[in-house]
């Protein structure tokens, strides 16, 4: 049975996935359309949302990747929190 916290974590994880996917698709478009200003605006706007989502996830559930580890913890959280394929990790 999924706990509330797990449900929240999955929702946050899904948000990161959708934003990350959008970023990659925009990146592919910009590779062939380097001068497209609309696409660039959309990319940077999405990047801002993505980084914000990563930071929020790291704050509540632990780091999504090594670059979002919150400093100041007693132990290195990246290796001490479950990886996605471990029990308690992933969605």
């Amino acid at each position: 049975m999924m706990t509330n916290q797990n449900a929240e974590r999955c929702k946050a994880c899904r948000n990161i996935q959708t934003l990350g996917f959008t970023l990659y698709d925009l990146l592919l478009f910009l590779d062939t359309h380097p001068c497209d200003q609309d696409a660039q605006k959309r990319y940077f706007s999405c990047l801002e949302q993505y980084n914000k989502a990563l930071a929020e996830y790291a704050e509540h559930f632990g780091p999504m990747n090594a670059s979002t580890v919150v400093p100041g913890c007693e132990q290195w959280e990246w290796v001490c929190t479950p990886f996605p394929w471990e029990l308690g990790g992933g969605c």
């Binding site: 959708t18 959008t22 001068c35």
Partner: protein, 173 residues
């Protein structure tokens, strides 16, 4: 305003998409070869022109071309005045001087009814007469009709224009 507008032809697929590439890459394919569109005239850059000057019967487009990078059959490059006086146009040579790679050919379709599904109609050669044969062309994608992240993630693309149906059988639409 995009240069690749729908006049009587589709976009040539070159870099003339009105997104800042006009001056540098107008009329050029991404491999830096001419695409045969009106690249010297910014107003018409990106638009293929109707092929009329190849000594062929208009009802039977010849598919002839002088060379890739030049306008097939005729050229509408440069100013409008040259279009009105074809003999004065830069590439309007007489029959002996033209270097067509193939004579006018019969209008042949041997595979039109190859499948029971509705395959693309290739009978209308007039719209594609400026394109060299045996070459692949890809229409230029525009930044439009972008899905929201959740929708794009579930469809596999954020671009609605690329969200095409999967038929799973032979691919004829």
């Amino acid at each position: 305003m995009s240069d690749c507008n729908q006049m009587n032809n589709t976009s040539c697929g070159c870099g003339s998409n009105g997104n800042g590439m006009r001056g540098v890459n107008a009329g050029r394919m991404t491999n830096n070869m001419g695409c045969g569109c009106g690249m010297d005239d910014n107003r018409r850059a990106g638009v293929m022109h109707h092929h009329t000057d190849c000594d062929c019967n208009a009802a039977m487009p010849c598919g002839a071309h002088n060379s890739f990078g030049r306008t097939a059959g005729r050229t509408d490059r440069g100013n409008m005045a040259s279009n009105q006086n074809r003999e004065a146009a830069p590439f309007a040579r007489n029959r002996e001087q033209r270097t067509f790679s193939a004579p006018c050919r019969e209008h042949a379709h041997t595979h039109r009814h190859c499948c029971h599904l509705a395959c693309p109609n290739t009978d209308d050669q007039a719209s594609f007469s400026c394109y060299s044969v045996a070459m692949g062309y890809v229409p230029w994608q525009m930044f439009r009709n972008v899905f929201e992240p959740e929708k794009g993630f579930s469809r596999g693309t954020i671009f609605q224009d690329l969200d095409l149906p999967f038929l799973g059988n032979r691919g004829c639409i």
